[in-house]
């Protein structure tokens, strides 16, 4: 198991009487892509702001590489907020250099790196433009570059894909993957579960200021497995149904003449092979796969399950 690069322990934060975070623990492993999930208003942004030392937690500790987070650590963190913007009246290049200098880069170094990224993203022509002349997506691209420019070891993206068209979203996604490959650790929060499955190694799910689920994406999916399988075959649907004995449950079926597709659940302690043995004599199997629960379903299921207990607590 890799070393944790960042840990938050028992972090709580309230604004007045409103509790934004309640005893939240997260551990992010070095080099991983960590998804911070949760419904709107769950406390994700509060946590991210605490990691960025924009606000201080009321209690709890934050460790970067095992050491308490200090103000100097901002140099090692890159942050792309959800609500993002740039100085509208400033020229793009000038502004990028300014923001890079805030992160501790020298002017010449900033210029050099900016040239590389501007070429890579084909945005050289924007250098002398004012930000207000750029489209929203263009401005976001500029911000993305600024965020990663100082090559931080920990990158935090809050909803990085909002506002991008599919083409640019793909560019950014590839870039995130590449950064991850180069060794950067990435924390990102999003509502888009398909990107979570695609990008994240592990996740934490926050709901109503509490962490309700965390772990590796694969483990979580395993844990949420329902023993459900999908099978396509050629043959007679009736014969197929008859061949199933009590150990299996047919959930759904579709058939188009002798091309059939079924969704079924394996009950009790029956094995996959038992199922195959049972149906093989009556049909020609074309495909067979396990239905792994999507993060989307897991998300909805977990959040909904959390509700009753939450309401009980409140009463």
């Amino acid at each position: 198991m890799a070393n944790p690069i960042f840990e938050a322990k028992q972090v709580s934060k309230s604004y007045g009487s409103y509790k934004a975070l309640d005893q939240v623990d997260i551990t992010v492993e070095e080099g991983s892509v960590f998804g911070l999930l949760g419904p709107n208003g769950a406390g994700k942004t509060s946590l991210i702001r605490i990691i960025n030392q924009i606000t201080a937690p009321d209690s709890g500790t934050l460790l970067l590489r095992g050491k308490t987070l200090s103000p100097d650590d901002v140099r090692n963190i890159g942050y792309l907020p959800e609500e993002r913007g740039l100085y509208k009246k400033m020229e793009v290049g000038e502004q990028c250099i300014y923001l890079a200098q805030l992160k501790g880069l020298s002017k010449s170094e900033a210029k050099k790196r900016l040239r590389y990224w501007f070429e890579k993203f084909e945005m050289q022509a924007w250098w002398n433009k004012k930000v207000e002349e750029l489209s929203k997506g263009m401005a976001q691209k500029v911000q993305f570059v600024v965020t990663i420019l100082h090559e931080p070891e920990l990158l935090i993206f809050d909803e990085p894909f909002s506002g991008f068209d599919p083409v640019n979203a793909a560019v950014i996604r590839n870039e995130i993957l590449e950064l991850s490959k180069k060794g950067a650790t990435i924390i990102f929060s999003t509502h888009r579960m398909e990107t979570v499955e695609e990008l994240c190694d592990s996740i934490a799910l926050i709901n109503k200021s509490k962490k309700i689920l965390d772990g590796k994406v694969r483990d979580i999916q395993q844990a949420f497995r329902t023993n459900t399988y999908e099978m396509e075959f050629k043959g007679n649907m009736l014969g197929f149904t008859n061949a199933l004995w009590t150990g299996f449950e047919l959930i759904e079926k579709w058939n188009d003449q002798d091309n059939c597709k079924v969704k079924l659940k394996i009950l009790n302690n029956n094995k996959v092979n038992d199922l195959l043995n049972a149906v093989m004599p009556v049909c020609e199997i074309k495909s067979f796969r396990e239905i792994i629960p999507g993060m989307n379903d897991i998300f909805i299921q977990t959040v909904q399950n959390a509700k009753p207990t939450e309401s009980l607590e409140n009463e």
Binding site: R49, Q53, V74, I77, Y79, P81, R84, L99, L102
Partner: protein
């Protein structure tokens, strides 16, 4: 940074001194160039003013002897500017006559001309009355020529350095100008701070930046940055205005108001007809001397100090307001209470000018919220060093305090969106650790 590069800044920087200098120079120049010679006809039925009214650079009197209606007709048709009619009274009682003197003109007579003519006629009536009492006309003229009182006020507690003619009129003007400038600078740059903060907040760039620097640093950076912009502008103004003033002095004024020329004029006009002319010259010359004798070495640094102090005090409050609201229209309810002391001291300036060492003035010049303006108003009137020192210390403490308060509000407010902020809410933010 972007502010200094803005066109408006550059334009204002160079236009400012031109405007200021022109406020001083233009009237003189305009008066000289546009005031053509005005012919004034005098129809004197009593004979007291006949041949006696002194013409000056702009007004030339000529005497006519016709009927009033004819003279009026004449006035209508010609380039004559005005007609003075001195009607003969019953017994030529001058005290009655003086009430019936009329000035006819085609257009509205300018105030200068009216006052000048009144003066001249008054003088003649005076002389005539004196003469009727048996006083020699020549004697009167010569006495008048010799008497010319200018009060040189000397502050007692001050060692009479040089021949500093310290005069209340100039101090009043200077105090008022200093106070007004501070007032406008604080408002102008304070509002800029506020707008800057709102801009950063609505742009949403603030979150990126405060992930790199502390909110307090960002706030102070904003305030100090704009202060430097303000100072740059002010210093450029001082330099440019000084430059223009010097050039103006060396070319136009020096020659006209030089002592030699005045002496020469005095010698050349022993008859006393152009006495007023010389008086005016002497007065102007003294004015220039007085301007040069003002303790600029105290006033300019004090101005910079009070500008900076007052600006930092109010600037941080303005920054706090900017952070608390979402857009500029919401600022009204917060800006007003904060600027009340500023407006109050501006209004009080008049009272303080009348009584610059009074209790009210003293207290207001020590309380940090009002001291920047009030002290600038008082400064030309000699302020005790300990008062000045106390006021300065209080101002420094004041701005440290407001900055501390403001930073608390700012830190919370800057990331708060879409919430209608009230005073109560802000008070709550202050209690957050």
């Amino acid at each position: 940074m972007t502010r200094v590069k803005k066109k408006s800044f550059i334009i204002m920087t160079f236009l400012g001194p031109l405007l200021m200098a022109s406020i001083g120079i233009l009237p003189v120049w305009l008066a000289k160039s546009t005031e053509s010679i005005r012919k004034v006809h005098v129809l004197d039925e009593t004979g007291i003013a006949e041949g006696q009214l002194a013409s000056n650079e702009n007004i030339v009197f000529s005497y006519i002897h016709s009927s009033l209606s004819e003279a009026k007709k004449n006035l209508n048709n010609s380039d004559i500017y005005a007609l003075v009619h001195i009607p003969s009274g019953k017994d030529d009682n001058l005290l009655v006559v003086q009430r019936n003197i009329k000035l006819y003109s085609n257009e509205q007579v300018s105030l200068n001309v009216k006052i000048y003519i009144e003066n001249q006629i008054e003088k003649q009536i005076e002389r005539s009355l004196l003469k009727s009492q048996g006083v020699d006309k020549e004697l009167v003229a010569s006495i008048e020529n010799q008497v010319n009182v200018t009060l040189n006020t000397v502050p007692l507690n001050e060692t009479p350095a040089k021949d500093v003619s310290y005069d209340p009129e100039l101090s009043t003007a200077l105090g008022a100008i200093g106070g007004i400038l501070i007032y406008f600078f604080i408002f102008l740059f304070g509002a800029q701070v506020m707008r800057g903060v709102i801009e950063e907040k609505t742009n949403r760039i603030v979150e990126v930046i405060i992930s790199s620097v502390k909110p307090f640093q960002l706030m102070m950076g904003k305030i100090v940055g704009i202060a430097l912009v303000g100072l740059t502008q002010f210093l450029l103004w001082v330099v440019l205005t000084g430059g223009i003033y010097t050039i103006f002095m060396n070319t136009v004024v020096k020659e006209k108001y030089s002592s030699e020329r005045i002496e020469m004029l005095m010698q050349n006009s022993p008859d006393g007809t152009s006495v007023d002319n010389i008086d005016e010259l002497i007065e102007n010359q003294q004015m220039i001397k007085r301007i040069e004798s003002i303790n600029w070495a105290l006033i300019i640094p004090a101005f910079i100090f009070y500008f900076l102090g007052g600006y930092l005090l109010y600037g941080s409050l303005f920054a706090a307001i900017g952070s608390a609201v979402d857009n500029e229209t919401d600022t009204q309810q917060f800006v007003l209470p904060i600027t009340v002391p500023l407006i109050f001291s501006f209004v009080m300036a008049q009272t303080i000018l009348n009584d610059p060492t009074g209790t009210v003035a003293k207290w207001l010049s020590i309380i940090p919220l009002t001291s920047p303006i009030v002290m600038m108003v008082r400064l030309p009137f000699q302020v005790a060093p300990w008062e000045l020192a106390l006021s300065m210390v209080m101002l420094v403490l004041g701005f440290i305090f407001t900055t501390w308060i403001a930073s608390k509000v700012y830190r919370t407010g800057i990331l708060m969106y879409g919430k209608r902020v009230t005073w109560k809410e802000i008070a709550k933010w202050l209690r957050y650790s």
